[in-house]
Structure formats: C-alpha cells, structure tokens
Amino acid sequence: MQIYLPIAEVSVNAFLLLGLGGIVGILSGMFGVGGGFLMTPLLFFIGIPPVVAVATEANQIVASSFSGVLAHFRRRTVDIKMGMVLQVGGLIGAALGVVVFNYLKSLGQVDLLVTLCYVVFLGVVGTLMFIESLNAIFKSKRSGGARAPRRQRGWIHALPFKMRFRTSGLYISVIPPILVGVAVGILAAIMGVGGGFIMVPAMIYILGMPTKVVVGTSLFQIILVTAFTTMLHATTNYTVDIVLAVLLLIGGVIGAQIGTRIGVYLKAEQLRILLALMVILVCVKLGLDLLLMPSELYSLGAEGGH
C-alpha cells in the first residue's frame, strides 16, 4: 500500500515503514537507545529527503522512548533524579549544538562532518563497549559469576555539589552528569539522533550507574531532548512529516514493548555486546560510504540548501 507523505513529497510503501519502525523499536526497547542512529540512515536509503528524515526521526523517538520508559517505570528501573540532571545538561547542549550546526552549515560540508561524527563516535563507542563486555563475559565465566568490584574512586568523587541518587545507588557530584548531558545534547543536535548510544555507555563507564537502571534513565532523558528537537525543526525548517512519523511510530511503539521484554531475558553483558556489534556495523557501513567510490558522483540539492 503506497502512502504519499505530505511534507517529504514522496510516495512510499506503508508496510515498509511499519516494518522499519518495528525493527528499530525492538532494538530501542532492548538497549535503551532511541534508534535514531539506525533509522535516520535507513530513511535516507528508502528515499526520504535527509532534512525530513532527521526531523521526523526526532518525533518518532519521542514515541518509542515514551512507550519504553513506561515499561521501565513499572519495573522501577528509572532514576528520575539522575534523568532530570542529565536533561538540564541535555537542553543546554542541544541549544549549543544548534549553534554549532548552523556554523558548520555556513562553512558548507555539513553532510561530511555529520558523517565523520557518526563514524568516529560510533567506532570509538562500539569498540570500547565490545572489548569491555567481552572481558566481562570472560571474567564472569572464570570466576563463576562473581562481578569485579567497580573502581569508582577516582576524580569523580573529589568534585563538589554531591547529590544522592538512590535508584542508582550513587552519591556523586552533579557536575559529571551535567557535562555528559551537555555533550550528548550537542551531538544529538548535530547528528539528529537522541544520543542514547553515547548516553548509555557514558552512564555505565563514566558515572558508574548499574546497567539495569541505565536503559530506563536513558530513555527518560531522551524524551525531552528529542521533543525539544522536534519543536525546533517543526518551527524553523517545517520538515517534520507527521504522516511518516505516525507510520514509523506505530511500528516503533509496538517494537519497543517487545524489545523491553526481550531485554529482561538477556544478561547485561550480552545486551552490551549486542549493542556494541550493532554500533560497529553501522559505523563500518558509513565508513565504507566515505572510502568507496560512489556510484553517482553528483548529487542534487535545492538552491541554497544542502
């Protein structure tokens, strides 16, 4: 069944969109990532104009994250206090990110920089997570499931403005979470994603949060940041396609529910290694696009646009 998208001005198969939404939704529920880093390139691939894809994706992430976070709320695996602190940073970051994005746009080559951003961040994050979770799996096998004690006695504990995060079982300064939020917010605005794939490892490795609350908390903070981004795109670029969003989010919210339930049956290390593999896969794909000779050297754009 073909559907004509009013803003994107292309006609696409409705079931294809539902399916894409569903698959990305499952991953989103399992790993606590918005799925934007997967969905946005997929939308480019099926012929949605990039500006519409990025803006609409933000709206769809709101839906799948909201659906996912409700399931986590019931299991009490959301650290609301930590989420709030991260959001404060996230909004500052998103605003900064828009400024940076517009600056890069004025220089031209914004597409290239966005792709490079993707390759570098996905590559680094994916590789680090992969190595770490592989180590964790080996360790748990050797020592019969006993977990290595967390080494969180470094500089983070020397910082002022300490706050108690009961759900995470942490007593740390608010400065690192706010900085993490800012960094993710900047990336979210530049790369057009929720930033979960950066947020999740940052919460585990920098803040030392337990994996089981990380997913819910990440989803929780992604909602506000992507809602903010959606409004920004809708009011400045008019590029949010509501029909596209609805199709994607119908698949997405159902997928997220299934994903959250699959996630329960997997061990934290397994979950992390799967996410790492997926991140590396997307990174390799984007990297190859830069390195291999494209089949079409020319590309068309509107006047003044990119």
């Binding site: 559907i3 006609s11 290239l112 509501i242 997220a256 079409e296 020319y298």
Partner: protein, 260 residues
C-alpha cells in the same frame, strides 16, 4: 484503478482549446482526460490521457507525414548540483554548479523516433528535448566539465523516473486524430504543470499549443501541509501529542495483553 478511472470521468473536461493560428493551416484541438491531478493520501501516480485532433480547412498536405510531440513539464526551479572527489582518501563534495532552471518533472511522448520528429534547430527554438529543457547559463567557467553537471541532473532524474522520453507512444490516426497517455509518477511535487503539443512536418513545427495541468495536494494532505507552514508551533505540538499518545497506548495495550 477504479478510483482513477472514476476521477478521470468526473473531471473529464471536454474543454477544447483552439491554438493561436500559426503560419500553417493546421491547428491543434486538444482534450485532456483531466486538467488537474489531486494528490491524496494514497496517491500512487496517475495517468493523463492527452488526445486531440488536427483542424484544417484544406486537404491533407502531401509530403512528409504529420508527427506529434506531447511534452508535460513540472514547475521549474534552480538546482544545486554537487560533485564528489576523493580528498585525503575519502569522497567529499567539492565543486558545485547552480543549474538555473530545471523542471521537476518532464515527460516527452513522440509519434516517431525523436530525431525524425523534430529537427535540431526547431528543438533549440522550442526547447523540447530533455537536455534543452534545462537551462544553465550561469555555469561557472572555472569548473572543469561544467556541462557534466547539467547532464548529471538529467541522468539522476531519469533514474528516478522524473524525466522520460518515450518514442512512438503517440498514436496518430489518418494524420488527423492523435492520442497519448503520460504516466505521472507517485513522487510528484505540487505546482502548475504544462502540457505542450507540437505538430511537425519534416522536422518543422507547424503548430503548437500549451495548456496547464494543476497538481495539488487535497484533503488531509492539503490540511497537514498548510498547517505545518502556517501554524508550525501547533503542528509541532500535535506531532508530539500523537507521539506521546501512541507511546502510552502501546504500553497500556501490552499491559492488558499480559494481564489476560
């Protein structure tokens, strides 16, 4: 299909247009199956039937047979064409050329192979062929192979099905009646499209006629498009509200399923 047929019937504008008399004695009288295309939510392309007759006071002239060209073109706009080159091991956009004007859609149907229907000079004058329909006067001279950029526009849009030349698809009967069907793809942009009919003999244009086809979004498509432009804040809030409602709905539905 049925819907499309009904639509063509409903809109069957038997409006005929008399062409301004040109030097010759032959004139086009034209009918369209529809003079507008409505883009609805499940729009998946359309077919416009273009038919007509040649009006003449004198007997059919001897010599070269009558040939017909039908060209439908979409609204024109400037296109920024970029070329990738390998720099430091990766492919990046380097040169760009602004093609001043290129139609968003361009379909030509002819009654014989293009070269036989119209001569090169007439093509230049009437801008009929796809390459001639694109204008790039301002192409920067310092860029190597500036012509390649205009060719790239044609190639890319041909691959997307937006530009097409279909020879031998206009049926001409008794040198008097002609008809052709132009396929409109699903990925149409809005705007005022024009249909041009050229009658030629021996490669020379003897008569031409132009008429408009209105391509518009209707119903829900129109409403959403207008809302996003005129009330972007409300549109944004509506998008978010739908997202939140869908997220909550799915969560609630799954909880019900699990409890049962």
């Amino acid at each position: 299909m049925i819907r499309s047929f009904a639509l063509s019937l409903a809109l069957a504008c038997v409006a005929s247009f008399a062409s301004p008399t040109q030097a010759g004695e032959e004139e086009v009288v034209l009918g369209l199956s529809q003079d507008r295309v409505a883009i609805t939510a499940n729009f998946d392309g359309d077919e416009i039937l273009i038919f007509g007759a040649v009006k003449r006071e004198t007997p059919i002239p001897d010599g070269d047979p009558l040939q017909v060209i039908v060209a439908v073109s979409g609204p024109e706009s400037a296109v920024n064409v970029r070329r990738k080159e390998k720099r430091l091991g990766i492919w990046v956009n380097t040169d760009s050329v602004l093609v001043d004007s290129a139609p968003s859609f361009y379909a030509i149907a002819t009654s014989a192979p293009f070269g036989q229907v119209i001569s090169d000079t007439e093509d230049l004058r009437y801008r009929v062929s796809i390459a001639r329909a694109i204008r790039s006067v301002g192409a920067a001279m310092h860029i190597r192979g500036a012509q390649d950029f205009a060719e790239a526009v044609v190639r890319i849009r041909e691959n997307e099905g937006l530009y097409s030349l279909r020879e031998n698809t206009v049926a001409v009967d008794q040198q008097t009646l002609f008809r052709s069907a132009i396929e409109m793809p699903a990925d149409l942009t809005e705007g005022e499209y024009t249909a041009r009919i050229l009658l030629t003999r021996g490669g020379k244009v003897v008569s031409s006629l132009e008429t408009g086809i209105d391509v518009r979004k209707v119903g829900l498509e129109r409403f959403l498009y207008a809302l996003s432009r005129e009330q972007p804040f409300i549109y944004g809030l509506m998008s978010l509200a739908i997202a939140i409602a869908a997220g909550w709905g799915a969560s609630a539905a799954f909880r019900l399923l699990r409890n049962n």
